[in-house]
Amino acid sequence: MSNGVPGNDPVRVTYRDAVREGIRQALNDDPRVFIMGEDVGLYGGCYAVTKGLLAEFGPDRVRDTPLSESTFVGAGIGAALGGMRPIVEIMTVNFSLLAMDQIVNTAATLRHMSGGQFSIPLVIRMATGAGRQLAAQHSHSLEGWYAHIPGIRVLTPATLEDARGMLATAIEDPDPVLIFEHSGLYNMEGELPSDAGPVDIDRAVVRREGADVTLITYGGSLGKTLDAAEQLARAEIHSEVVDLRSLRPLDDATIMQSVARTHRAVVVDEGWRSGSVSAEISARIMEQVFYDLDSPVARICTEEVPIPYAQHLEQAALPQTEKIVALVQAMVASHG
């Protein structure tokens, strides 16, 4: 597996390209792999992720489906049981609620209900998150919510390498894996080693080291958090930034090692605050390193309101760099 060391010939790509490359590679490497979903073929994908794949792999392996979320997800489960390695694309996380029965009642339980006889190697990709003024039926961040469900894995690639590599690893996984791609990341550009491949999906990664406070985040909030760390550094507050990468399972070790060093933690999560994955992380930190804490774990989440259309309200509802900076400064000041 790639350990993140760039290859010799890095290429300039977007997050969108990286996901597409991951899918292309999978389609090339394994005849059992196919992708299906609404408009993944002729239209090229609602976020243009699958653009060109129909022409390259044909309609048998790049399948446009009718508007039937519950059934094409269920068909993905069945195809996986039948020996295929399906990648199902759901356009946006809100639409996945139509497939909730198949995901939670079947995909997550079937291996268990069958006493371990059947595994479901299914990958479900979907766009998540706010920031594009798409309002209350296209903008939510439910990845942390899905992380409550035993039997599935929940991944949130925040970098180009993960956008490409997690797809590859997920396809090799014997169980259902949900991959949440923050729609605000698709245009993010950067260098990716052309030989980029599967990445480890069990571990969180420290994206920046620092001794004063641990900032724990994932997906669309990683950038804002790294920006905050940068600003804080100018004020001599050194933040360690942990990118969770996987919301289920959570990598407790990486989190606790960091918090045990910094004695302070802030979780930045685009999910609504109550019952978010940030609550779980806060609870685990208390359970595991309570006596190392200099101050209570703090959370910066999305305000508990359906995402509003108006830009100023939408931005006010979301976690922002300034909020992180202000909170950390106050935290450090009060418990210097």
Partner: protein, 332 residues
């Protein structure tokens, strides 16, 4: 398919002129919206109704003010034709608090209590169960009202379509289902999404009355809608109209349109609802160039006023962010 001539012959020309005006009003409004979108005054997703105006205008002409309307994310035309004030619609697209949804909804979520316009639903087929419930409420309260429920042919593949048609028919509820069949769901042609491409037949299999209508002919649409609305109002149960139409523009402002060829688009444009009616009215001698000029300038003035209203609109204070998640106890 019903044709208009029956009505046009001897039909009150003022009324037909109003229908024409209604369509032009929607067309011009949306052309302005496209402009404002490029100018980034309007953001998010913008789904234009251009080409399909005859449906909203014809159907709304058949409804009574107390009837209910449920629409989709492609609903500017429906809101305008229903009588939602243009300035509040435009302000909504700007995200101003003077908007019809106070800036919380945007283009996809127009709402208006005064005209019983219940949205503005951006989950495909998600509006159908809600419409069934609105009709149930009217039926249980013995109100002689109907609920008009608009959706695209793409919605016909969703489970909620199936469940809603069954329930409405089983309970004989006053819903008029209006399927705007523009042949594509984003990039997916009907033939690639439905094993039964004749939507009106598909709907008929639930045992409700179902008709296919030329959605490019506003008079035909109004005729069919009047019949359906009256039958529903008289207690004959749910009605289904498949309105054959075409989307002249891209699905949304992000659509490269790789899935249909220009020739097809052009051939449909050639029978556009506005051009066709204009010609017919001119030939019938109802419509003069002066009338048209007057109409256009009247519409353009209204649009200019709406834009001015939206521009002058104000941003809701951020301190109000938490509003309208729950109903204040005072209101309850």
């Amino acid at each position: 398919m019903t044709t208009a001539d029956t009505l046009l012959d001897g039909a009150p020309s003022e009324h037909v002129m109003e229908l024409l005006r209604g369509m032009i009003r929607i067309r011009r409004f949306e052309e302005k919206c496209a402009e404002l979108y490029s100018a980034t005054k309007i953001r998010g997703f913008l789904h234009l109704y251009i080409g399909e105006e005859a449906i909203a205008v014809g159907v709304m002409a058949a409804l009574s003010p107390a009837d209910a309307v449920v629409a989709t994310y492609r609903e500017h035309g429906h809101a305008l034709a229903r009588g939602v004030a243009m300035d509040t619609i435009m302000a909504e697209m700007y995200g101003k608090q003077e908007g019809c949804s106070r800036g919380r909804g945007g283009s996809m979520h127009l709402f208006d209590a005064a005209t019983r316009f219940y949205g503005g639903h951006a989950i495909v087929a998600g509006g159908l169960p809600v419409a069934v419930g609105l009709a149930l409420a009217d039926a249980m309260q013995k109100r002689p009202l109907v609920t008009a429920c608009f959706f695209g042919e793409g919605a016909a593949a969703e489970g909620e379509f199936h469940e809603s048609l069954n329930l409405a028919t089983l309970w004989s509820l006053p819903v008029v289902f209006l399927c705007e069949n523009n042949l594509y769901a984003m990039g997916t042609a009907l033939t690639r999404s439905e094993s039964q491409v004749d939507i009106h037949l598909k709907a008929g299999s639930y045992g409700l009355r179902s008709e296919q209508v030329d959605g490019m002919d506003v008079v035909a649409v109004e005729n069919a809608a009047r019949g359906a609305v009256e039958r529903a109002r008289m207690g004959e149960g749910p009605q289904f109209l498949e309105l054959r139409t075409y989307r002249f523009r891209a699905h949304s402002m992000f659509d490269p349109e790789l899935y249909r060829d220009k020739a097809e688009v052009e051939s449909w444009k050639s029978r556009g609802p506005i051009a066709t009616l204009k010609t017919r009215l001119e030939q019938a001698g109802y419509l003069s160039d002066d009338d048209l000029v007057a109409m256009d300038s009247q519409v353009d003035e209204e649009i200019a006023r709406a834009v001015a209203f939206a521009e002058a609109g104000t941003w809701e204070p951020i301190s109000d962010l938490g509003r309208d998640v729950y109903t204040p106890r005072s209101q309850s």
